[in-house]
């Protein structure tokens, strides 16, 4: 993974000092809260319902054990012993004191971490496929390009006061695990006919109040043009994006109102002036960044094949975990392991300091010191020998980290909701917990199969409800919480926005409604091989709406 050089270290140190100075000026009253707000946000500091919240960047979700231990240490020392992994592959601390922020940032800097641009109307943490560098289906590792973008966008003088936040995601395979079609810029690595690397470029995707899928504006952008082309997009957006209404300020609205052809022509015209300038990426620099992400030397471990088969036979729990949480690695003797942060009835994405330490230790012992954070709020060990799966599983079991539910109905994404967030209208966490408990039986989950439930506590859609197979949106109606359900959303290469079923449900009715939806699926599917989303796309919303609402109209 990327290692800081002197330049990076000096930069982050200067940034910590800069922020300490800003905090001091705020405390002395030299700057108003209004003027301070964008400054603290650009350092990841939010003022939430009960306390300040600090969001720490985990660029493209990649961590080593030393960094994970530091996150555990911060949770223990400055927070209440836990942290919350987010849908942007970051971690949030919900209870730090403002006065501790400079100290926390200093500690992070020691392990090459920071909180730069995890919030604010600037270019946010660049995300990537959590299986990058390990997946069998990958064309190229997206992380070097995410790292180049991270560097280039850090404290960008032209693009730090954009109309609204700006999110970029990069995926390295056709199979989109980075949800690029719901990002402001989505980049898909591909090769052209000459075998050269480049990107398909998508712009204008996003969730929030107005969910829109991205439009492809370029089928192939050579890798050398990554920064010049991104600059052209950013400049057109910065100059022309709406600033009169924060709900219409994302680039998706600009694309929608201008028309993708015209906007793309403006971007191309701007780019014509930039493409041969100083932002053109030299091949040597791309190669140098790529070298940091060279895969670890994976020794042959063919003995794992036989052992794995024997272990699975003797332990059904292990077999179930392998079936759900272990995915094929490009090296046949290895696998990618998902560590679920969704224990039955737990808080999605939360990890205790002890669990973080445990993951750090296991990454060192079994996984070449690499950890990933997924946008689905789980952790991944991307390089584990098949021969090490059983001892890894045993160790995860003792720390409550072996829940075998990756991709199942209890692998729920949820935003922090009204329990923490100042923007929320409704709670998300208890909703997730109740659904998780209702469907927690392993047999039942397995029977239901792949099903993504995503929950947001307000229209800002941090819980990605628009792209949930089942999406749940908490709203406030007459002072009470109400939950709207949408169906048929998807954030992968076949992206779609979910459709609202009808009237919302009160907290006490919601889990029953989810059960009705699941039962309708089970009754209508052609067989266990037809997943929920496939079934929904075949039969449409009708049978689900009928099941949800008809009984009441009959009663009335």
């Amino acid at each position: 993974m990327y290692r800081y050089d002197e330049f990076d270290h000096a930069f982050v140190e200067a940034r910590v000092n800069q922020f300490s100075d800003q905090v001091a000026r705020r405390l002395s009253g030299e700057i108003s809260e209004d003027a301070f707000k964008p400054l603290r946000l650009m350092n990841g500091v939010y003022l939430q319902l009960h306390a300040y919240m600090l969001r720490v960047a985990i660029p493209y979700g990649t961590l080593n054990s030393r960094q994970m231990r530091k996150l555990a240490h911060i949770a223990r020392t400055y927070d209440r012993g836990y942290g919350h992994f987010t849908t942007r592959q970051n971690i949030q601390y919900n209870w730090p004191a403002l006065s501790d922020m400079p100290a926390i940032l200093k500690e992070l800097a020691e392990v090459e971490m920071h909180a730069i641009q995890t919030s604010g109307n600037c270019i946010r943490n660049v995300t990537a496929d959590h299986f990058a560098g390990a997946a069998a289906d990958e064309i190229a590792d997206p992380r070097p390009y995410a790292e180049i973008l991270r560097q280039w966008s850090s404290v960008h003088p032209e693009f730090s006061f954009l109309p609204r936040k700006f999110k970029i995601a990069v995926t390295g395979s056709e199979r989109d695990r980075a949800a690029i079609q719901v990002h402001d810029i989505g980049l898909q690595l591909k090769k052209n006919d000459q075998g050269e690397l480049g990107f398909a470029v998508w712009i204008g995707g996003g969730q929030g109040r107005t969910p829109i899928l991205a439009k492809k504006i370029r089928d192939f952008l050579p890798e050398a043009d990554l920064l010049s082309y991104t600059t052209a997009i950013m400049r057109v957006y910065n100059l022309h994006g709406r600033r009169d209404n924060k709900y219409k300020a994302r680039i998706k609205i600009l694309v929608h109102e201008t028309g993708v052809e015209q906007l793309s022509a403006e971007i191309e015209a701007e780019w014509a002036h930039l493409k041969d300038g100083e932002l053109k990426l030299p091949g040597a620099d791309i190669a140098a960044i790529n070298a940091y992400f060279a895969p670890p030397a994976l020794a042959p471990r063919a003995e794992g094949w036989g052992e794995l088969a024997a272990w699975k036979k003797s332990d059904p729990g292990f077999a179930e975990w392998v079936g759900r949480n272990v995915a094929p690695h490009r090296h046949p003797d290895y696998a990618m392991v998902t560590i679920s942060l969704k224990p039955i009835g737990g808080i999605p994405g939360d990890a205790s300091a002890d669990q973080m330490d445990a993951v750090a230790r296991l990454a060192e012992e079994f996984a070449h010191d690499e950890i990933r954070v997924t946008h689905e709020q789980n952790l991944v060990l991307p390089h584990v020998a098949l021969a090490d799966l059983e001892p890894l599983y045993r160790a995860l079991l003792t720390d409550g980290l072996a829940t075998a539910n990756a991709g199942l109905i209890t692998d729920i994404i949820a935003c922090p909701g009204l329990d923490y967030c100042a923007l929320a209208n409704a709670r998300s966490i208890p909703v997730a917990q109740e659904i998780s408990n209702r469907f927690g039986d392993p047999k039942r989950q397995a029977e239901i199969g792949d099903l993504k439930i995503k929950i947001s506590g307000c229209i800002n859609a941090c819980g990605h409800h628009h792209v949930g197979h089942i999406g749940i949106l908490g709203v406030e109606k007459k002072g009470a919480e109400l939950y709207q359900i949408s169906l048929g959303g998807s954030g992968d290469e076949h992206a779609s926005i979910g459709q609202i079923t009808g009237r919302g449900f009160e907290p006490g009715e919601l889990t029953d409604a989810i059960e009705t939806i699941v039962d309708t699926y089970l009754a209508n599917r052609t067989g266990a091989a037809e997943t929920f989303i496939e079934c929904y796309r075949r039969i449409g919303a009708g049978p689900f709406k009928a099941a949800l609402y008809n009984s009441e109209s009959e009663a009335a």
Partner: protein
């Protein structure tokens, strides 16, 4: 209080300061007027609003004494891109002034995008600027319009050229 600040310090008796009035005070003209008056001999300056297309100045830039870009609120960052277009696209080398809401923490970013003078009203900001205690970072991850040295490592990095 309104002062004009540049990296050389406070500018006394600046003719373009926006709250100076008087018959013979030169004027900062809005874009449309500036395009009309470009044939006049009297020196004139231009003040752009954020929605103005900075590229429209191309035909008259040679006769313009100063360009001022307006920041109606600190959150409106269009002026940063206008400045980049003026400096890099149009090759404008004259005075480029930020007017409106100019925050101390934005001044280093404005310097990077090519501004070289600032109309400032906020007393604590003026104090810091006079003391030359700018809250910027001298290492940059991207080229911009300012004069910088190549940074270490990669082609996109730059370092500030420090005075003295």
């Amino acid at each position: 209080m309104t002062v004009i600040w540049t990296q050389n310090g406070i500018v006394e008796n600046d003719p373009w300061v926006s709250d100076v009035t008087g018959a013979d005070a030169p004027k900062l003209l809005p874009l449309a007027e500036a395009l009309e008056h470009s044939q006049d001999n009297a020196p004139f300056g231009v003040v752009l609003q954020p929605a103005d297309d900075a590229r429209a100045l191309a035909p008259i830039l040679e006769s313009v004494a100063i360009v001022a870009l307006t920041f109606p609120a600190f959150s409106d960052g269009r002026g940063f891109s206008q400045a980049m277009l003026l400096r890099q696209r149009l090759g404008y080398t004259g005075e480029l002034r930020a007017v409106g809401t100019v925050l101390l923490d934005q001044v280093p970013l404005m310097l990077r995008t090519g501004f070289d003078s600032f109309e400032v009203h906020h007393a604590p900001t003026i104090e810091r600027l006079v003391e030359k205690r700018l809250p910027g970072i001298d290492l940059h991850y991207q080229p911009a319009a300012d004069k910088t040295d190549a940074g270490t490592g990669y082609s996109w990095r730059r370092t500030a050229i420090l005075n003295g």
